[in-house]
Structures are given as structure tokens and as C-alpha cells.
């Protein structure tokens, strides 16, 4: 497989995942937050911008942090590289450069999603609220996963998609937990009680609300939410599960067996998974959640760089 194609598949998956993640977070939080008092309004919206890592850009474009602005910014702005429409456009652009290497169904699906995403009139959607738009994106992304799974040969190309998806998920979830945890604990709730409502939103934004309740008794406890999202071995959006997908994908590509690694990316993925498998949530809190999640993000970034070095831009030696 050409290095460039592997790279495009990897990024195609990451952008789709990023679009889906943003759509989920936007949808859930929007509706939760509308029920909040005006006073805590700004404080609740800001984390969404921070999660996207786009505070500076947002401040340049808007005076006020409010529901409409955040929605427009995260969903529709073409000058925000992390906006949903931009992620979909980039995913499709990557797909376009490799359309001869994917199934016709995959191309038509992503191309269709692109045209759908661009057919929305931002002003109308802002008035209507994000649900309709975000739902379309979320299901569009799910459908693309499904179409990919059932029409693309599960060869190394598929594995690059898998690694891209999983690596992006590791980062999305790590940022979500980090930002929301601190935000929710640092901000006094107007009701005085722990903000049950908000934690539901966090779980819902990764589709883990029902799973949480099957595993833990009510009420929702922040530490358990963190445990669920970081260490759960089965939930598809937990960091641990995603890290194991990264490792499995990388091993499938290189063909290396258990207990060994063929490159730096595999070594780092293995080490990350090791920690996630044996750490306890109490230990994580003891050493500091923020520091722990920062480590996860740093390692994940290194894995991405090393995948590029190993498979995309290796030095040519005469």
C-alpha cells in the first residue's frame, strides 16, 4: 500500500471521528445547558471551546460566549478548522485522493454526507437548535463506519482506518473527561448539590449513559464516571478500549505478535494500554487526574507522530 494512501485513510478516520465527537458533545450539552441558570451560562459553554482547543480563534470571532455562537462556531464556521463542516470537508478531501482505493459505497457515503452537511443553512439551524443537525452528523458517521466495515476488505488499509478512529477517540475522551471534571467540580452548583444533571450530559456525550447505569447504582458519582470513561475495557468510547484498538490495529499492520513490538508507535501503545489495564481509578486520582490525562494525550500524540515516521514519511536511504 502506498504510504500516501495509508496516511489519507488514517486522517479520513480521524476527521470523521472528530466530527462525530463534536456533534455529540454539542448536542447533549446544548440541551442540558439550556436548562441552566443564566449566571452559570458562560461558565458552562466555555469548556466546549476549550475541548476543541480553539479558545483564541473563538475570541477573535465572537464577543460573547453563548449557545448560538458556540453552536455556530463548532458546527458551521468554515474558518474554524475544527468545526464539524470543516472536519467533514477534510475527511472527504482525504477520501477524494484515495477514492480508487476505497469501495464505491464508502465514497458515495462520505461524499453524500459532505453534501448534506453543507446543505444546512446555519441561521435556520441556530434557530432550530443543534439536535437535528448533530443527529444527522452522528448517524452519518455511524453509517460510514458500517459501510466501511461491510464493503472494505479488512486488510491493512482497514487497519489504518481503525487506528485513526481509535487514536482520535483516545484524545477526544481524554479531553472531555479532563475539561468537564474540573469544570464541574470547580464551579459551585446553584443547587448546592453535586450536579447530577451535568454528569449525565458527560456520559451521554460519549453514548455511555445507559452503560453506566447497568454497571453502577445511582446516583451518578464523578469518580465512577471517570472510571467508566478511562478504564472500562468494553465501552467503545473509553480510553482503555480505544487504546487496545490502536494496539490491535498497529499489530495487524506490522504482524508483530503478543509481547513484542515492531516500532516505536507499537511500543508506546503497549505501554499506554498496560497502564490503563492495571491502574485503579483511586490511584489515578491520588496522582492527579489532570496530570494523568495529560500523559495520555502526550503519549497519544507521540504514537501519531511515530506512525507517520514509520509508515508515511520514512527516510529514503540509498
Amino acid at each position: 500500500m502506498l504510504s500516501r494512501i495509508a496516511e489519507s485513510l488514517f486522517w479520513l478516520a480521524r476527521y470523521i471521528e472528530r466530527a462525530e465527537g463534536t456533534a455529540r458533545i454539542l448536542d447533549v450539552n446544548y440541551h442540558m445547558l439550556l436548562e441552566q441558570s443564566q449566571q452559570s451560562y458562560r461558565l458552562r459553554w466555555e469548556p466546549l471551546i476549550i475541548m476543541a482547543g480553539e479558545e483564541d480563534r473563538f475570541r477573535k470571532l465572537y464577543k460573547e460566549v453563548n449557545a448560538e455562537n458556540v453552536f455556530e462556531f463548532l458546527a458551521f464556521r468554515h474558518d474554524n478548522p475544527s468545526s464539524i463542516v470543516q472536519c467533514i470537508a477534510k475527511a472527504r478531501e482525504n477520501a477524494r485522493t484515495i477514492r480508487d482505493r476505497m469501495s464505491r459505497e464508502m465514497w458515495e457515503d462520505i461524499n453524500g454526507l459532505f453534501h448534506v452537511a453543507n446543505s444546512y443553512v446555519p441561521a435556520d439551524e441556530i434557530a432550530a437548535g443543534p439536535h437535528r443537525f448533530c443527529d444527522k452528523i452522528k448517524f452519518g458517521a455511524h453509517r460510514f463506519h458500517g459501510v466501511t466495515d461491510s464493503t472494505l476488505p479488512h486488510d491493512e488499509g482497514w487497519d489504518f482506518l481503525r487506528v485513526g478512529w481509535a487514536l482520535e477517540r483516545v484524545e477526544m475522551t481524554a479531553r472531555l473527561v479532563d475539561v468537564q471534571y474540573h469544570n464541574l467540580l470547580d464551579t459551585p452548583s446553584p443547587t448546592g448539590a453535586l450536579d447530577n444533571h451535568q454528569w449525565m450530559a458527560v456520559l451521554r456525550s460519549v453514548g455511555a449513559y445507559e452503560a453506566y447505569h447497568r454497571q453502577y447504582p445511582p446516583p451518578i458519582e464523578p469518580e465512577k464516571v471517570a472510571e467508566m470513561l478511562i478504564l472500562n475495557p468494553q465501552h467503545p468510547h473509553s480510553i482503555r478500549f480505544s487504546a487496545s484498538e490502536v494496539q490491535a490495529g498497529l499489530r495487524a499492520i506490522s504482524g508483530s505478535g503478543r509481547g513484542s513490538y515492531a516500532n516505536e508507535a507499537e511500543r508506546l501503545a503497549g505501554r499506554l494500554l498496560e497502564r490503563l489495564s492495571y491502574d485503579r481509578i483511586g490511584e489515578i486520582f491520588d496522582q492527579g487526574l489532570h496530570g494523568y490525562l495529560n500523559d495520555v494525550l502526550r503519549i497519544s500524540g507521540s504514537i501519531g507522530e511515530d506512525i507517520a515516521r514509520t509508515y508515511f514519511y520514512y527516510a529514503v536511504v540509498a
Partner: protein, 323 residues
């Protein structure tokens, strides 16, 4: 002494690492009835694998590439050449007026050596030189070409740095100066506008000292670089050489490497590479009598001014001007 060992060294020095360097050189002396190329060796550092072919004008071209990162590229061409005594060719004495009647056929056959090129456009200023030359000549084709060579030699000053490697003759015509590349181009413009076929010759001019029978010391030739002159097609179908830079007949000390329409066809070294680094070029040509290896080495180097370090990913190697 007319047997020479020639060492032509080109060195590129880069400010930073570069890679995927592809190069094409025209450095192998011709081998024909007028000179014999007894041996030729091309050495590069870093080492490279090369291929060779002959271009549309029959010149030998060597291509090689260096993929791995490097900061310096050295190309050394070493050849041993034997220049033959000129055969006693009876000079062509066809008058220009006779030639003019048959020139249409020549124009068809030798289109490439008569049509204007990027370096040698047809310019009104050349007509003046052609008129002067014709007035000074004996009215024959050979006489005209010789007169043209003399007029150019007299009216242009040899000034290094007056022009650059990409200069067309417009530049040198406007300042009345240039290097051998410009002299040759102007001469080609003049003869072509007069309806004659002329070709550019790239080569070396062996200095008198190195050609003397008792020469021991090696010497730097051709103004420390390669040389250029022209050949004009005579009505009897022979090519007659003229060196407007030197202003003297072309003889055994002129070693030919390549023919072309202009410099663009015969550039000794050209190449492209990847990297963001700026570059410096140095060229050095040395010659000594081939039979004597005991001369003291006196290396002379001419460093060209550094190229501006623009930031582009893929860049051409700096070309060397023929002086």
C-alpha cells in the same frame, strides 16, 4: 604537446541537509576525427550510481542521483584527450551571394542551428554587427564569419560578472560586455540572422603554458572554468570554428565537449534536489600534459557568489556560467 589530462571539479556546498539530488552532466570530451577521448572517468561524492546516454546532438550525458541526506556534492570529471593535427582542409571560398540562393535548403536541414532561441533571439542590434562584418569581409561565407568573430572580439569587452548564466544576448548587447558564453551567443545571433547555420560549442581552452612541450606545472584554464565558442556551417558542409572571445583561430588547444543551439543545450552540470538549504557553487578546471604526473599541485578555486537562500522544497542546482 597535444595530449592533455583534464580534471573538471564542480562542488556544491549547502547550508543544511539536502536529499534526493538528481543531476545531469555533459563533461565527456568528444571523440571524433578531430580529437580522441582516450579515457573518461566521473567520480561523485557522495557516491552514486549513474546512467549515460547520448542526446539529440550526439553529446554524451551522464545522469546520477544521491538520495540520502548530504551537505556537499562533488562531481569530478577526469579525461585524457588527444587533439589531432588539423587536416589540410581547403578553405571554402563560396561567395555569400551564391550561398544566399541555396540557403533555403540549409534552413530546412539545419533548422535548429538557424532558428532563434531563448538565449539567442533575433534582434535588430545584431543586424548592425552583421553589416559591419560583411563590409569588412572578402565577400565569402568563411570571410564573413571570420569578420563577424573579429568585430565581436573588438567591440565587446571581456568582463567577468557583467552577465550571469541565464543572460540572453540582450544583456550583453546593452552593456557591450560579457564572458565567453555571451560572445558565443552574440556570434550565433549574427550568423543566424545572416542566414547561416551556427552551433554553440562547449569545451576547454588549454592555456599556452600547459601546452608547451616543457610544461610541468598544472595550470588553470579558460578563466578557471569551461570555455565556449561557435562553429559555422560552410557551403561545403563542413563546420568551421570561431572563437570570438579569444579573437584568434581555433586550434589544438580547443577541446570540444558538446554541441547545441545555445548554452541551454550543453550546460556542464544541471540538477535538482530537495531541501530548504541555500547553496554555493565552486568550479575548478585543471589541465596538465598527460604524460607527466610530477607537477606540483597548485589548486585554484573560484567561488561563485552564494545563491539567495529562498525557501522552496525542490530546487535547481546552481548552473555554472561558461567563461
Amino acid at each position: 604537446m597535444n595530449r592533455y589530462r583534464l580534471v573538471h571539479t564542480t562542488e556544491f556546498l549547502y547550508d543544511g541537509p539536502v536529499s534526493e539530488s538528481y543531476n545531469e552532466v555533459r563533461l565527456r570530451p568528444m571523440h571524433d576525427e578531430r580529437q580522441s577521448c582516450l579515457s573518461f572517468r566521473l567520480i561523485t561524492a557522495p557516491m552514486s550510481r549513474g546512467t549515460a546516454y547520448r542526446d539529440a546532438y550526439g553529446n554524451w550525458v551522464h545522469q546520477f542521483n544521491v538520495l540520502a541526506e548530504h551537505q556537499r556534492l562533488k562531481v569530478e570529471a577526469e579525461s585524457v584527450v588527444l587533439a589531432h593535427e588539423a587536416m589540410d582542409s581547403s578553405a571554402d571560398s563560396t561567395p555569400l551571394s551564391d550561398y544566399d540562393c541555396s540557403c533555403h535548403q540549409i534552413a530546412e536541414e539545419f533548422y535548429d542551428f538557424m532558428a532563434p532561441t531563448g538565449y539567442v533571439p533575433h534582434l535588430a542590434a545584431l543586424e548592425q554587427i552583421a553589416e559591419d562584418a560583411e563590409a569588412q569581409s572578402d565577400g565569402t561565407v568563411a570571410g564573413f564569419a571570420e569578420a563577424a568573430s573579429n568585430v565581436i572580439h573588438e567591440s565587446f569587452r571581456y568582463v567577468k560578472g557583467a552577465t550571469h548564466v541565464h543572460s540572453s544576448i540582450e544583456d550583453s548587447l546593452s552593456i557591450g560586455a560579457g564572458v565567453c558564453q555571451d560572445f558565443a551567443h552574440v556570434m550565433l545571433g549574427v550568423v543566424r540572422m545572416r542566414g547561416l547555420a551556427g552551433r554553440y560549442v562547449s569545451g576547454y581552452l588549454v592555456p599556452g603554458a600547459a601546452a608547451a612541450p616543457d610544461a610541468k606545472q598544472e595550470d588553470v584554464i579558460g578563466g578557471q572554468a569551461s570555455h565556449a565558442w561557435v562553429e559555422v556551417l560552410m557551403p561545403n558542409n563542413s563546420w568551421m570554428p570561431f572563437d570570438p572571445t579569444l579573437g584568434k583561430p581555433v586550434g589544438l588547444r580547443h577541446i570540444r565537449i558538446a554541441y547545441g543551439r545555445d548554452y541551454g543545450d550543453v550546460a556542464p552540470v544541471r540538477g535538482v534536489y530537495k531541501g530548504h538549504a541555500g547553496q554555493r557553487l565552486s568550479v575548478d578546471v585543471r589541465v596538465r600534459p598527460a604524460l607527466d604526473d610530477t607537477g606540483t599541485e597548485q589548486l585554484a578555486k573560484s567561488a561563485a557568489p552564494p545563491a539567495p537562500a529562498t525557501m522552496i522544497a525542490e530546487r535547481p542546482q546552481q548552473p555554472q556560467q561558461q567563461q
